[in-house]
């Protein structure tokens, strides 16, 4: 009951979804949309588990005074503050007034956006340090990687780029020929890998995700 039924559920629904793909008829499309709704709703309900885990881990840190416990306090305050603002100071849960709540919008615009944009902008620094650290002509492969990257970088450099048409032609050749061949091979390989793994799950060979009891 604990393992047999989930495995058979995976098999039945897996095979059904495969067959459904080949039936364009309206009724199969209707069932497909309905099942996608299931996944979406299960996902939302699962968020409660996630929030519970976040609260419990933060609360453990605070209760047992683990190091940096004060910051877990900030996490919990941020979490509850947003939930309170999101439901318009817990006034209504039905209509989406909370989304226009002043503090909710301002928390989003002036806390989430700056931090996320700045985290993203760290990439500019990390690309520089990765290029410095890793682009060493250690082996033939590493030097191929280095040369290709340098050519394409120089091509898009405002000063060196247009110096000679050969640079531009080489860069666009690199981007359109070896890069395309590599991409195509990886995509085919990944496609077959995905189908093999999905098949293992449906046939019940791959059971890691079910755990043990």
């Amino acid at each position: 009951m604990k393992r047999q039924l989930p495995l058979s559920l995976v098999f039945i629904f897996g095979v059904f979804m495969i067959i459904q793909y080949f039936v364009p008829h309206e009724s199969s499309e209707w069932i497909f949309e309905f099942l996608l709704d299931w996944i979406y709703i299960i996902g939302i309900f699962a968020l409660a588990l996630g929030i519970w885990s976040l609260i419990r881990v933060s609360w453990d840190k605070i209760k047992y005074r683990k190091d940096n416990w004060q910051y877990s306090l900030v996490t919990l305050l941020g979490l509850f503050a947003m939930i309170v603002f999101g439901f318009d100071y817990l006034r209504n849960f039905q209509t989406a007034e909370g989304l226009q709540n002043f503090m909710f919008v301002h928390f989003f615009d002036y806390i989430m956006i700056p931090i996320q944009a700045t985290m993203f902008s760290l990439l500019a620094f990390f690309i520089a340090s990765a290029a410095y650290r890793a682009f060493r002509a250690r082996s033939i492969l590493a030097s191929l990687l280095l040369i290709a990257a340098l050519i394409v970088m120089l091509r898009f450099n405002p000063y060196f780029g247009p110096i000679s048409p050969y640079l531009e032609k080489t860069a666009s050749w690199l981007l359109n020929v070896p890069n395309l061949a590599a991409k195509r091979a990886i995509v085919i390989g990944v496609g077959l890998g995905i189908v093999a793994t999905a098949l293992k799950v449906i046939l019940g060979i791959e059971r890691a995700y079910l755990g043990k009891d």
Binding site: D37, I41, V74, A149, A182
Partner: protein
Amino acid sequence: MESMTIGTFLWTALGAFLTLCIFSFLYKDNPLYKLAEHLVVGVSAGYFVIILWHNGLVPNLFSRLSDGDFYFLWLNSSKPWYLIPSILGMMMWTRFIRKWAWVSRWPMALYIGIATGLAIPLEMKNRVLTQLDAAMRPVDWANFFGNGYLDPISGYSHIIIFFGTIAALFYFFFSKEHSGVFKGVARLGIWILMIGFGASFGYTVMARISLFIQRIQVLEDFTNVAWGGSGAFLLIWFITFGIFVLLSIYEFIKYLGRPRNA
């Protein structure tokens, strides 16, 4: 700069302050970064709870069941079958009780079963067949040599693409030892892969730098407003940047005083 109310300016100052907190991470992990990190984790988690409630649960579930009423457990609503996903969703909550945690395997099995079943024909078509079809294209013999130097749409480039793909595919082949002639093919395969990775790495470098420039512009606007504004604005501006100046001086002194073994 249009005049800005003190309230909005306070919020902008907060945004600039948090921006600098994240940048301080580049030097090393410090209390300011920890503050910004934990704050954004809490705020974003709360944000998703609200978004999934208002844009997810209410339209997809509550409004569909709304015409039924609570006493009949919504069975008399116009679309009672939407009760099934909600029951499955609640079965996920059995994980809270350790003894009943195994019940949560049913909705998970359903979730993974639907996802994997969906993936098999879709990925077979989108990845394998589409690329296979793109590989089997006639060579443009007329324009075989293209226009002189390294022309990507010439005949010989198309041949290089085709054999490069086969070589790269062979590199991932597990059942044949890379020996003899196959060693050459596999080596060509990994060369093609490395050149391809180098090219796509170089291509993204420029785009990433402009991200950092945008952040400088935001800080510049914040400074312009501050200098243009009244005393209170200037005070807030000094507090925001002052903290980081103090911190860096403090770190610099510590850096100078460090033991001489480095």
